[in-house]
Each structure stands twice: as C-alpha cells, then as structure tokens.
C-alpha cells in the first residue's frame, strides 16, 4: 500500500465521520425544533382556557433530545443505584439483561455447536434432524414463554430459556453449514496423514469452519438481545425490557427513549466483541 492510498483512506474516514456528525445534528435539530410547544396565542394575550391550563400544551409531546441528554447524564452518572423494586439504576437493569442473555446464549452454544458439528459431518443425522429443525426454528421465541413458565415455574429461568431457544438455531445451522462445507482437499490432507476422527475434527474441520460458526454466533447474539427486551416486558421484575415498560407505565417518555438508546448501544457492543473474536479465526484462502 503506498502513501497516496493511505492518505485517501484517512480522508475518506474523516469525511464519513464529518458527514455522520452533520446528519446527526440535522436530525436532532429537526426533532428539537418540531417538538417545541407552539407559543400560545401567537404572543397575544392568553385566552381564559389557556390561562386555566397554566400555559401548558394540550397534547403530550415526544421529549426533545435536550431533555433526553439531561436524563442520560443523570442516569449514567449514577448507573448502579438501587432504590427499591421499581427504581433501579440503568446499569443494574442492563446487568440483569446481560446476565440472562449470556446465560441462555452460552447454554445454546454448548448445545448448538456440537449438534451442528454432528449434522454437518453426517448426512444421516442431517436428514434425520432436519425436519425437527425446520419446524422448531420458525417458532417465535416468545411463544415458548407460557410453556416455559408452566414447566420451569420460575420467571427468571423462563426468560433464560427463551434466550436459549432463540439463539440456538443460527448457531446450529451455521455450524452444520460450515462443517459440511469444509473443502474436501483439507479433509484429504487429514486422511493422508492418518489423523484420527477426533483430531481431524479439532485440527482441520473446526478451524476450517470457525469463521462460519462465528458468523452464526454473531447472528445469535443479535437475536438474543432483540428477544430479551420482549421477554423481560413479559416476565417483569428486572432487566432493561422491564425498565422500558415500567417507564412507559410511569409515562416517563424521556426515560423510555434513553433506554431505547442504551439497548442499541449495548447490542452494538455485543456484536462488536464477537466481530473482534472472529478476526482471530478468519483466514484468507
């Protein structure tokens, strides 16, 4: 890579960053501007009715970005306070959600990757298990919730189960796809070197399929983070999903928007961390 291309790349990044800032400023400006309550009476004397309302607006408005930024500052400067069941810091709520997501997700990985391996290696197992997968996969994870609540009899564990069931499929199918797609040349290398099946699995097939498996893991963590919000709205108690719904019940839209933003940021961080791991197993052919 020569000097000119690096400079070009830098300037491209810089220009993209600038453009993003401009778009953000524009959107926030529009939002802030359009949500301003009209100056009542066009600056003229207030009517009797308006006086009765104390000059307040008749319709509730979406809070402006400035109010959300103030709320974000309040919340993030003390994220872990705990003032009773319905008043916990955003950090605590996110912590609960992350714990559930990771618990369900890791259990799913522990099940999906070995089974995916099996399905990918054995056409028999693929044909035998495929009908089950095809029927179970399109089921909305929340549809499992009543059954989970009945069988498990614990809201917390049911939420984890829902995460488990929704994150299992992308990992399972991607692992199977990756394993089945390992180039036969590489398997032949293992065969001509008399590697045992176990060694072939760990030394050739796993590294060869790892990028595809990691892609499945990234899809799964994304879905798990989508589903936890809905699951927590149902089971209640703690977690970011419950927090959103609780603030809606409190008619505190500023907090609702703030928590929506936090859900997005945490989801992005989860994806980025897996993308980082994926860099270590990616190879160029």
């Amino acid at each position: 890579m020569d000097r000119t291309t690096t400079e070009w790349k830098l300037s491209l990044n810089l220009r993209a960053g600038l453009l993003a800032v401009v778009i953000l400023a524009l959107l926030l400006g529009l939002w802030e501007g359009l949500n301003r309550a009209p100056i009542l009476g066009g600056g003229a004397e207030l009517s009797e009715y308006e006086m009765l309302l104390g000059g307040a607006d008749e319709t509730a408005r979406v809070p402006p970005p400035s109010a959300i930024m103030v709320r974000a500052w309040e919340q993030l400067s003390d994220p872990f306070y705990d003032a009773g069941p319905n008043d916990k810091g955003i950090g605590i709520q996110l912590g609960y959600s992350l714990y559930r997501v990771l618990a369900g997700y890791l259990m799913a990985a522990a099940v999906a990757i070995p089974i995916g391996f099996l399905i990918g290696m054995s056409p028999l197992m693929y044909k035998a298990l495929n009908p089950f997968i095809q029927v179970l996969r399109p089921i909305s994870p929340l549809a499992w919730m009543p059954l989970a609540l009945f069988i498990i009899r614990d809201a917390e564990a049911s939420a984890i189960f829902v995460i488990f069931i929704c994150s299992i499929w992308p990992m399972l199918l991607n692992t199977a796809f990756g394993v089945a797609g390992v180039r036969s040349d590489w398997v032949n290398v293992a065969r001509t070197h008399e590697l045992s099946s176990l060694k072939t699995a760990f030394k050739v097939i796993l590294p060869a399929a790892a990028p595809t498996i990691l892609t499945g893991m990234r899809i799964s963590i994304g879905i798990a983070w989508l589903v936890i919000v809905a699951a927590e709205m149902l089971v209640g108690g703690t977690g970011i999903g419950y927090y959103v719904w609780n603030e809606w019940n409190n008619l505190d839209l500023t907090s609702v928007i703030f928590s929506i933003l936090m859900i997005g940021i945490v989801g992005m961080l989860l994806d980025m961390s897996l993308a980082y791991v994926a860099r270590f197993v990616t190879y160029a052919e």
Binding site: D185, R191, T192, H193, E194, A210, Y283, A284
Partner: protein
C-alpha cells in the same frame, strides 16, 4: 515369486450409466503396472483417461471398481502415512503458517517427537525448498510457486515410502515450474524415494522420470506403453536437451499423445490381455543391432491370495 515394490493389477474404474438400462461408463480397465523401489515414474495421458483416479486410489482416497493394489505385500485399502501426496491445488491449510503446515505432517508422522524436534525437522525441509525466510507467512501471502514448495516440503518431510504427485506444477508458470523441478530433483536425489507423478508436460516427464507411462484416451483407457528414459543422471534442464537421444524420446512421446493415443484406444485386441504395459526405449527403436526386440511384453504374474496381507 517376488513382487515389485508397488503392484497394481487389472485395475478398472466404472461409473454406473445415466439410466438403469444404459451400460456403465468404463473410464479405464485392465490397468496393471509395477513400480520399483526408488523409481521415478511419470504418467502422461489426455484429460479424462483416469490418471487422477489411479493416483487417488494409490493414495487411498478413491477406490478402483476392480483390481488390486499392493505395496510391499500389503494391500492398499485406505490412506496412510507411508504414501505422501502432493495435490495439484497444494491443499495447504490456510489458517496455519508455512512452518505449521509442514509441522502438521511431521507431527502426524512422528507422534512422540518433542516440539523442538518437529520444528527442526520441518525447518530442514523448508530450507531444502528455499523457503526458510517465509516460514511465518500464511499460504495466502505466498505465490503459487511458493505454496507448491511448501506442499512438496510437507510431503517429503514425512519421508513416505511412495510419493504421489498429482500434476504438482500444473498451475505454475514455466519459469517457476523449472525452478521447482530442479528443487524436486535435488530433494529426490537426496532421499531416493519412489515417486509416481501425473504430468501433462512432456519435457518435465523426460527431465524427471526413469519411466513414463503413456495412457490411451478414455473412456476405456489403459496404459499402453512404459517408455524407458535412460538419460544419464543427474539431469538438469540446460544440459538434458543437448543429449543426442533427447529429441528422439521427446518426438516419440509427442507422437504418441498427438497421433497414437486415440488410435490405440480402438484396438480392442491388446486391451483384453493380462499384461503390463509394453516396455519401449525410443532411443533403441532404430538400432536393431543393439536390441533385436525393443518392445518386449511381460506376462502378468497374478497375485495369489496368500501373497496379499490384509490390513
């Protein structure tokens, strides 16, 4: 009756026909040959004659529909470390570095070696192919020629009794090919392994081989002739073309590939016999005094079941 180092007898490969009633497609049949220990044999033939199937069967990665294969009295019925393979597309593991790819083979071959022994042995072979400066690069960061050298180093480093090279230089440009051919000669001269190699390049075959098997066109191909190359060794590319017999041999081979490989296919009479390919020495074909029967045929000595140890 003692047998050769490697013997293939009456091998055939058939594929079922397109429909249940149509006859099976016979790629080749009645292929029998011997490889002597330390011999370098090249096999030449047009595409589709089944060269690669023969090679993959020797490697244990494919199976004949018919016939038997024996190496040192043991039947070949699966891949094994005593047979090393260099594939046309290199087949390096892309997530491993150059050194790790060679170590992969060495570690599989000598399981009780220490890490240091494995690395030292691998480095020795990487040095032989001139790659000791790029041992930490991944295959994707190497040129095609360098990748094939790694693949050759990996195969030779495990010291197989029989080396199978499937058109190893097919994807390389002529200049690179020449350099690696010289390296192959060097490493082969050092270890004196038995090599069986597919090639499409007549000059390459003359440079490297003790004998060249000529296959007729498929389907229903067979090995028609085994051409003996008795040019003096060590050979090198610059000197060999000056040898008086070089062009006699070369013309003979080209003539076979261009004119006779198709004609011979339709000659049914020979293909049904139980015999090894006809031995030919092109240099002596026009010299009746020295050898009155330049083309002599050997009858096949069939294996008795007792001679084949299974497993």
């Amino acid at each position: 009756m003692s047998h050769a180092f490697v013997e293939v007898q009456q091998a055939a490969k058939r594929f079922p026909g397109a429909t249940k009633t149509s006859p099976p497609l016979t790629v080749f049949e009645n292929v029998s040959f011997q490889l002597q220990k330390g011999e370098f044999v090249c096999i030449i033939g047009h595409s589709g004659c089944g060269k690669s199937t023969i090679m993959n069967a020797l490697a244990g990665l494919d199976q004949f529909s018919d016939g038997s294969m024996v190496m040192e009295g043991n039947e070949i019925n699966g891949p094994g470390l005593e047979r090393g393979v260099v594939f046309q597309n290199y087949s390096l593991l892309p997530w491993l570095t150059t050194l790790e790819n060679v170590r992969f083979g060495v570690r599989a071959r000598w399981k009780n070696w220490s890490e240091r022994e494995v690395t030292e042995h691998s480095m020795k072979y990487l040095e032989l192919v001139g790659l000791k400066d790029v041992v930490d690069r991944k295959p994707s960061q190497l040129s095609g020629g360098m990748r094939q050298r790694v693949s050759i180093a990996r195969a030779f480093a495990t010291k197989p009794k029989l080396l199978l090279l499937d058109e190893p230089f097919g994807a390389l440009d002529a200049l690179t090919r020449g350099v690696i051919q010289d390296e192959l000669v060097k490493i082969w001269t050092k270890d004196q392994q038995t090599v069986f190699m597919i090639t499409h390049d007549v000059d390459e075959a003359i440079l490297l081989a003790d004998r060249i098997f000529l296959m007729t066109n498929g389907p229903e191909a067979r090995i028609a002739e085994a051409v003996e190359i008795d040019l003096p060794r060590p050979r090198n590319r610059a000197e060999i073309i000056k040898h008086p017999n070089f062009y006699t041999i070369r013309n003979y081979l080209v003539d076979f590939l261009v004119n006779r490989s198709g004609d011979l296919r339709v000659q049914e009479d020979e293909s049904k016999g139980l015999r090894y390919p006809t031995s030919v020495n092109p240099a002596r074909l026009n010299d009746p005094d020295e050898n009155s029967t330049p083309q002599h045929e050997e009858k096949l000595v069939k294996f008795t079941p007792k001679e084949i140890r299974h497993g």
